[in-house]
């Protein structure tokens, strides 16, 4: 920690930053108004998969960057799971040196354009911003600025590749190419390791590709970040399921010395209510995979998808929002969220809920499905829902939903998307009987090292956390890389 503090201090003391700080008085800075993200009009955007947020202009970004006070004690950084040097990149934007700003992001984040789009900044860096904490004002738009810098760099065509230590010839394997795996791979490549990423699907990117829709995170942006990793020497093997296609033992024989498992979530949860396996009831994973990864909505692809005029999505998380907004784009006239608590408890990001509302999504809160009904072909056509009231807070800290007996309703539907969570993917744990897992099926790891009960196996992301965010997975990838590096050096 000492090291980090003195590093941040010396960076802050650099002349260019001192000059910037002296240019405008803090009081003036705090009077500036937070920038608004430019958005595509709701009626336009539901006609296509165009990205909803369209980014900041150079002027907007520089004005917003001026709001940052370049604090002595930058609390924002402590809110960031990958510890981006936030004031440093923001001050580069204020200075007009956007490519340098992007370089700063890449010091610690392998996927800045992704983070700038999907991180819950309002709960992380921005929640710890001086403006939020001390001034009770809207925080610096750190997320928007991050996206700006990453986008600027990508569009400039001058993408920087981080400095890489000369190769040490040590082979390490990474299981899964989602945010945890990609971050791990990037960090290890920087340290000079020979990294191979094994991906079960035919495309690299994991949940970033199959789970998050184009209107929130375009696939081509993920591809640019993957290309950067390839340029850093990371190798990718698609259609490769570690534990099935080859065992860990096989890979050890092929020279791999250590592994990181970021195999993510699998097994969608269902509620176990009558009729749940009728045709037309899909998990959000299936629905989103068909659309995002398999491009089922495009005319010239072979993968089919059903999505009717009345689509009900069960759940209140980001994935539920992604699903219901996808349904709207697939032509649903009525796209509904059914959530058993109230808007206040909804786990999705406020921004995504807001976007969904703008797009005409119906929110049925304090409502829970209790039975599905079908036509004579077994295709779902109605849902029986139960109204709920909220009791005292439960173990999750949220108010517990209680059914209001007798208050039920039948709603007509053509498609139902169930988005009530996922369990960890069982393939890696199943293939390694000596690997310790928790009662929830997640891999048990040491909290600081992310090392499992098999010393050469590290793990992070949803396979450890059960179900979390892109940025927490990335934080794990980074932490595991540092720990594995230490482990391999002392072995």
């Amino acid at each position: 920690m000492e090291d980090r503090e003195s590093y941040l201090k010396s960076e802050r003391a650099q002349q260019w930053r001192v000059d910037l700080r002296n240019k405008i008085k803090n009081k003036e800075r705090t009077h500036l108004v937070r920038v608004k993200m430019n958005e595509v009009d709701a009626n336009m955007r539901i006609q296509s998969y165009v990205e909803v947020n369209s980014g900041l202009s150079i002027d907007q970004a520089q004005n917003e960057a001026k709001r940052c006070l370049d604090c002595v004690n930058p609390t924002c950084i402590t809110g960031c799971p990958v510890e981006i040097n936030i004031p440093k990149f923001i001050k580069r934007i204020e200075q007009g040196n956007f490519l340098e700003a992007a370089k700063v992001l890449k010091e610690t984040s392998s996927l800045p354009a992704v983070c700038g789009r999907v991180c819950p900044q309002e709960k992380q860096c921005e929640a710890n911003c001086f403006y939020t904490q001390k001034l009770k004002k809207t925080p610096v738009a750190i997320g928007y600025l991050e996206r700006f810098a990453a986008d600027y760099e990508r569009e400039s065509g001058q993408i920087s590749i981080p400095d890489i230590k000369s190769t040490n010839g040590v082979k390490v394997g990474c299981i899964g190419s989602g945010p945890a795996g990609l971050t791990f791979a990037g960090e290890m490549a920087k340290k000079g390791y020979d990294v191979t990423v094994f991906e079960a699907l035919h495309e690299i990117g994991g949940v970033l590709k199959y789970g998050i829709p184009e209107f929130r995170l375009p696939n081509h942006i993920v591809d640019v970040e993957i290309d950067a990793l390839k340029k850093m020497g990371v190798q990718f093997e698609t259609n490769f399921i570690v534990g099935k296609t080859a065992s860990i033992e096989d890979l050890k024989e092929e020279g791999f010395q250590a592994f990181f498992t970021g195999s993510g979530a699998g097994l969608p949860r269902f509620m176990g209510i009558p009729g749940e396996n009728y045709i037309g009831i899909l998990s959000s994973n299936e629905y989103l995979t068909r659309i995002n990864l398999m491009h089922a909505a495009e005319q010239d692809t072979d993968t089919p998808v059903v999505s009717g005029k009345n689509v009900m999505v069960i759940g209140g998380g980001n994935t539920a929002m992604d699903s219901v907004r996808t349904a709207k784009r697939l032509g649903a006239e009525r796209a509904m969220i059914v959530y058993r608590r109230s808007m206040d408890e909804m786990p999705a990001r406020k921004e995504e809920i807001h976007h969904a509302q703008e797009e005409g999504i119906e929110f049925m809160t304090r409502t829970n499905p209790i039975e599905y009904l079908a036509d004579d072909k077994g295709r779902v056509n109605r849902v029986k829902v139960q109204k709920m009231e909220l009791g005292e807070p439960d173990g999750s800290g949220r108010r517990r939903p209680i059914p209001i007996e007798g208050d039920e309703e039948i709603i007509e539907v053509d498609t139902v998307v169930v988005s009530v969570g996922v369990s960890p993917n069982p393939i890696v744990p199943d293939s390694l009987p000596e690997l310790k897992t928790t009662q929830w099926g997640t891999i048990e790891v040491d909290k600081d090292m992310l090392q499992s009960s098999i010393p050469e196996m590290f793990a992070g992301g949803d396979i450890v956390r059960g179900g979390a965010t892109v940025i927490l997975a990335m934080g794990d990838g980074r932490k595991a890389a540092q720990a594995m590096h230490k482990y391999l050096n002392h072995k």
């Binding site: 079960a200 035919h202 698609t238 490769f240 269902f270 994973n285 059903v306 393939i427």
Partner: protein
């Protein structure tokens, strides 16, 4: 230390037509050939814009590094695969997936295969035989030309009963009639059934009547095949199970075959329309 090609290329090295609609392909996939066991399947994708679909592995040659797939053309994707010539490459192939068949010496096994279900049945029959079981096999199809792998199945079966709907080969009748004949003759310890869902439903009813423990290998719609999407879910003994990771084999007497039949038809209209369009464009 075996050196595998860095990027797997799934080259078709042999192709034989069993009938107009059924083709056997031998495909280069050295890692899968080594890792697969009886009962495993793969997910295949043809072309950049193809869909992912499951196929059971009908056999493997570890030395040559190849696996055998048997494909019945029932839609666009299977037609695209069947149209690939020797020397061509399958775009994506991943596996082996699912739980392997639990093979041990159980006594007398009644192995039942309908249509192309005989292909995945073959490695299971072979494994049961090699584990010391007495194996009685019943294979069935609509007509003579659709009976596949008869000689190969015969090699590992103590007894083989062939049934055709029209009586053009073997005995005339449904698979269940062949099963009844075998059950009448001797005590069966366990049955295994693989074939079209409707056939498995009635085959399961037959063994249930005689209290014979029975496994059925299910072939449902899948997308990823690794437990992520849940498209393959079915009800077994009142509980939702995922065929791709929990299966593909389940206690046949607990499987809700009616629900499975409905779910298999979930995309039928879209698929039929796509197939018509494909045939128009490719004829």
């Amino acid at each position: 230390m075996k050196n595998y090609p860095k990027y797997s290329m799934y080259k078709i090295i042999d192709k034989t037509f069993f009938s107009d609609n059924v083709v056997k392909m031998e495909v280069e996939a050295p890692r899968i050939a080594k890792a697969r066991r009886a009962g495993h399947f793969v997910i295949v994708k043809i072309g950049e814009k193809g869909e992912r679909f499951p196929l059971t592995i009908a056999g493997a040659d570890r030395v040559k590094g190849t696996i055998t797939l048997v494909v019945q053309t029932v839609g666009v994707s299977s037609r695209k695969l069947a149209a690939l010539e020797v020397g061509a490459y399958i775009t994506d192939l991943v596996g082996p997936l699912g739980q392997a068949t639990h093979i041990e010496n159980k006594g007398t096994i009644l192995a039942c295969g309908g249509g192309v279900g005989v292909a995945p049945l073959l490695p299971i029959v072979e494994a049961y035989k090699k584990a010391g079981n007495r194996v009685i096999t019943v294979i069935a199809a609509r007509t003579k030309d659709l009976i596949i792998l008869e000689e190969q199945i015969k090699e590992f079966s103590d007894e083989l009963i062939v049934m055709t709907d029209d009586g053009s080969h073997g005995k005339k009748g449904l698979i269940t009639e062949g099963m009844e004949a075998a059950i009448a003759k001797e005590k069966i310890d366990e049955a295994m059934i693989i074939g079209p869902a409707i056939m498995m439903k009635f085959a399961a009813l037959t063994t249930k009547k005689h209290h014979i423990p029975t496994l059925a290998s299910l072939n449902t719609i899948m997308v990823d095949g690794t437990g992520m999407c849940g498209a393959c879910r079915i009800t077994v003994g009142g509980k939702t199970k995922f065929v791709c990771v929990d299966g593909p084999e389940f206690d046949a007497h607990q499987v809700d075959f009616d629900e499975m039949l409905l779910r298999l038809n979930g995309y039928k209209d879209i698929e039929k329309a796509a197939e018509r369009k494909y045939l128009e464009e490719n004829n």
